[in-house]
């Protein structure tokens, strides 16, 4: 007890210290730091700044590319690990049967070609000849069959098995042929085969795939193989001499795990890493103000893989009324959200497909910002301000609802901008921000919400059956806004049965058109993926094609004049 009393004395005494002294001490303490923080930054990296990174060199092999990730993979068997960090690393180690090219069209990776039978139920994959694993064992259709068996195995702890369980028969007529048969034509099948990493049977056949040490010590067939994995610190990949797709130019890929973006940025400024993902503030505010950084580091932007939307609970009044949904769509200024939240680094979207790809209908334009039209639509729906309190009402009830979103700064800011625009036309919206698990468990699953502010991915395969088909409304399924439109249902079913890309495209263009018109969700924006890469790395496509700058990493190179001294790497 005595100590506590003394502490209190201390605090009381502190208040009697002369303010001037306090100020002086503070200044004395902070000044060196401030100078160091805001001072002449050209003094930094004197060694690195002396190198002129603008000279041209022809492509060569070798060098190390160091990048930073915020999270660590839990394992490198992607079907089990699931998180993006795992897919990013595993994508350099394992091949799939198919891949997406730079225009996001499907093309063969392990296969030379594939045939679809006349009834569209059977797909035959022809593997390239003489494929090899990194340990010199041959890669055959047996490995593909084994991978399919594993992903559909009840005991395998993967959430991604359901697409592959639609295969009724999988067979290997010979070592280079793999054939799958579906009960009914299943168009997204090709996309699913582009996402499944083929695993080596000879190493995994006696292992429990859920717990095998292989996940941390994999053997693959792609450009790189894992050389070293230091938990919590870094993963080092080195070139795979047996790579099935030819040789990559950069010798080593080193991914450092740095959870904090600010620390990553400091590492980038100090030239300890070559590449990192930026946020809009770093891209649009910090870099333009730092010429010393721009001298050595190039910035790239590409359309990201997701969009933000405002989704209505269509089971609740008044969102079952298309006029109300369209009115809210007209009332929201999408460009303002892009400028304010993404600092201009995004695009409006009008369909759930990436602009510039074949699935995106070029005729569709987002609803323009038109508050008068919004008011007129609401009036037609019966909403007017009868009692003069500034809020529209119908049958004596004011038009007010709650926008639910999860803890995500960008979504919260978007919500505030929407709130203000809705307020202008007389709708009172409240924002409620929730932690993800309770958001999902208490509001989405039981459908206890008015309006949600969320994101969906801009999927590469156009099939969006699980999000929009009226049969997908049970708790835990993804059509939680309860969208139900017979024409859309028909189109989604037809799209799944059609494997011809051109015919499929027509189906999904029509689907997007109805979706936009119906306005069950308001498409808000799709943000850019922003990347900073040191200028020593060459061969990067700029501007980025639809697949993003990463589509040709195997062609990137580091001129040996610019390669860093391997021992000095921090």
């Amino acid at each position: 007890m005595m100590e506590i009393k003394h502490d209190q004395d201390q605090l009381v005494k502190l208040q009697f210290i002369k303010p001037a002294f306090m100020k002086l001490a503070l200044i004395a303490f902070f000044t060196p730091l401030m100078i160091s923080a805001c001072g002449d930054s050209s003094s930094s990296n004197q060694i690195h700044n002396k190198i002129d990174y603008t000279k041209n060199y022809p492509p060569n092999n070798g060098g190390t590319l160091i990048d930073a990730m915020t999270g660590e993979p839990s394992g490198l068997i992607a079907m089990i690990a699931g998180e993006s960090a795992a897919s990013a690393i595993a994508g350099n180690i394992f091949n799939s049967l198919l891949r997406y090219d730079k225009n996001l069209e499907l093309t063969g990776e392990l296969v030379e070609s594939w045939d679809v039978s006349n009834d569209q139920k059977t797909i035959t994959f022809h593997l390239k000849p003489n494929l090899k694993w990194a340990d010199d064992q041959p890669l055959t259709s047996d490995d593909v069959l084994f991978t399919w068996q594993k992903v559909t195995d009840e005991k395998t702890r993967t959430p991604y098995g359901s697409d592959f369980k639609l295969v009724t028969k999988a067979e290997t007529p010979d070592a280079n042929t793999f054939r799958v048969t579906y009960a009914a034509p299943y168009a997204p099948a090709l996309d699913t085969w582009a996402g499944l990493h083929i695993l080596p049977k000879h190493l995994l056949k006696d292992q429990d795939i859920n717990t095998t040490a292989f996940a941390r010590n994999p053997v693959g067939s792609h450009y790189y193989k894992l050389e070293k994995w230091k938990n919590g610190q870094f993963l080092k990949l080195t070139r795979n001499e047996n790579a099935t797709q030819g040789q990559a130019k950069i010798g080593n890929l080193l991914s450092r795990i740095i959870p904090d973006k600010a620390a990553q940025f400091l590492e980038l400024s100090a030239d300890n890493i070559d590449s990192m993902g930026l946020n809009p503030i770093q891209y649009a505010r910090i870099f333009p103000a730092r010429p010393d950084l721009n001298k050595n580091i190039a910035l790239y932007k590409e359309l990201g893989n997701s969009y933000t939307y405002l989704g209505f609970n269509l089971k609740r009044k008044p969102f079952d009324d298309i006029r109300v949904r369209q009115a809210i769509n007209y009332a929201i200024n999408k460009q303002e959200i892009i400028d304010g939240v993404l600092l201009g680094l995004g695009e409006p979207v009008a369909s759930p497909y990436k602009p510039g790809t074949r699935w995106s209908n070029p005729e569709l334009k987002p609803y323009p910002y038109d508050p008068n039209k919004a008011k007129a639509l609401l009036k037609a729906a019966g909403y007017e301000d009868h009692d003069g309190d500034g809020i529209l009402d119908k049958d004596g009830k004011p038009f007010t609802f709650e926008i639910l979103t999860n803890q995500n700064k960008e979504r919260e800011m978007t919500g505030v901008l929407i709130q203000r625009r809705l307020n202008e036309i007389g709708i009172k919206a409240n924002i409620r921000v929730l932690e993800w698990a309770s958001f999902l468990g208490r509001f989405i699953k039981p459908k206890e919400f008015d309006v949600v502010l969320l994101g969906w991915s801009l999927s590469l395969d156009p099939d969006q059956y699980s999000i929009w088909h009226s049969s997908q409304q049970a708790p835990g399924q993804f059509n939680f806004i309860s969208y139900s439109n017979q024409r859309v249902d028909k189109l989604l079913e037809a799209g799944r049965l059609e494997l011809n890309p051109d015919k499929r495209m027509k189906i999904y263009h029509e689907f997007s058109k109805i979706l936009l018109e119906d306005s069950p969700i308001v498409f808000l924006s799709a943000g850019y993926g922003l990347t900073a890469i040191h200028k020593r790395v060459r061969g990067i496509s700029n501007p980025a094609p639809p697949a993003g700058i990463g589509h040709n990493t195997y062609e990137w190179y580091i001129p040996s004049a610019y390669a860093r001294n391997e021992m000095s790497e921090h």
């Binding site: 003394h6 959430p159 610190q233 904090d260 600010a262 620390a263 999902l440 468990g441």
Partner: protein, 339 residues
Amino acid sequence: MLKYLVKRIVWMVPLLIGISLISFFIMHLAPGDITTSEASFNPKASEESRQKLRELYSLDKPVIVQYSLWMKRMVTLDFGTSFASHQRPVFWQTKDKDGNVTLGMIQEALPITLLINVLSLILIISVALPLGVISALNQNQLTDRSITLFVFIGFAIPGFWLALMLMYWTGVQHNWLPISGLQSIGHENMNWLAQIADTLKHLALPVFISGITGLAGISLFVRNGMLEVLHQDYITTARSKGLSEKRVIYGHALRNALLPLITIFGLSIPGLIGGSVIAESIFAIPGMGKLFYDAVLMRDFPVIMGILTIGAVLTLIGNLLADVAYAWADPRVRRGVVQ
């Protein structure tokens, strides 16, 4: 004394069961489980597959059943394997039939956090002790007030901000210290002396940051303890019998003023294994704080329970050690315990 010790140790068992029971239920009160993370909200992952995962992890069973399953494993000291990284054991390494050793998650994170915390504790004591004594001897003079002000600034300053500023100053502007991470990339190729130097260089900033923020507590504790003791009658007696000021202060006053510190150190033992999430994230150090934080976010129940259990055991041991040490150091307490 022995009887007292045995009694205390036996009592720890029901206490531990109680702690684990409460932790387990509170953990399950939070909504969601491993299958409801944001990343798994993916149309490609069907509800049926997620249900299947829940069954595989026994998450579909009532909480009390899950607890008894956990307890059944715990009595054989099996902490289980992590949900989020399927193959890694929570606590200690395992060997599979092919001889591949998988290191435990706590096994890897704990030494790192311990090292940082022990180093910063040493830093804190070696700075805070003299500061506290100097403060007490110059009570209410300029020296005392400057020291107090300094430690309070250290206490009040946001650690993450100071960390970023120092990282920029020592890492970007001057190439003095590495910015983040635990080791350089070429660490394995160095000789052992260079390896130690490399690790110490990486740890310098994290230890300094946690040291400067922890300075205030101990130094004020020492200062106030000293002041209290200096006003005791036996100090007056010591002075009046003509002992030198040095002997009075270091021989009599300081020794007594340090007694309460034993309690503080005892209580800080469990703190030694708890890392700071913010510091570990900023400095990219794979320690206990980050491990626990990620486990909570992912609802990785075996990891959460593993860390909580080890924390509980260490807290109880710390308390016991503090009491025993107190009895050893202070005859008055010893007599009380025996009676």
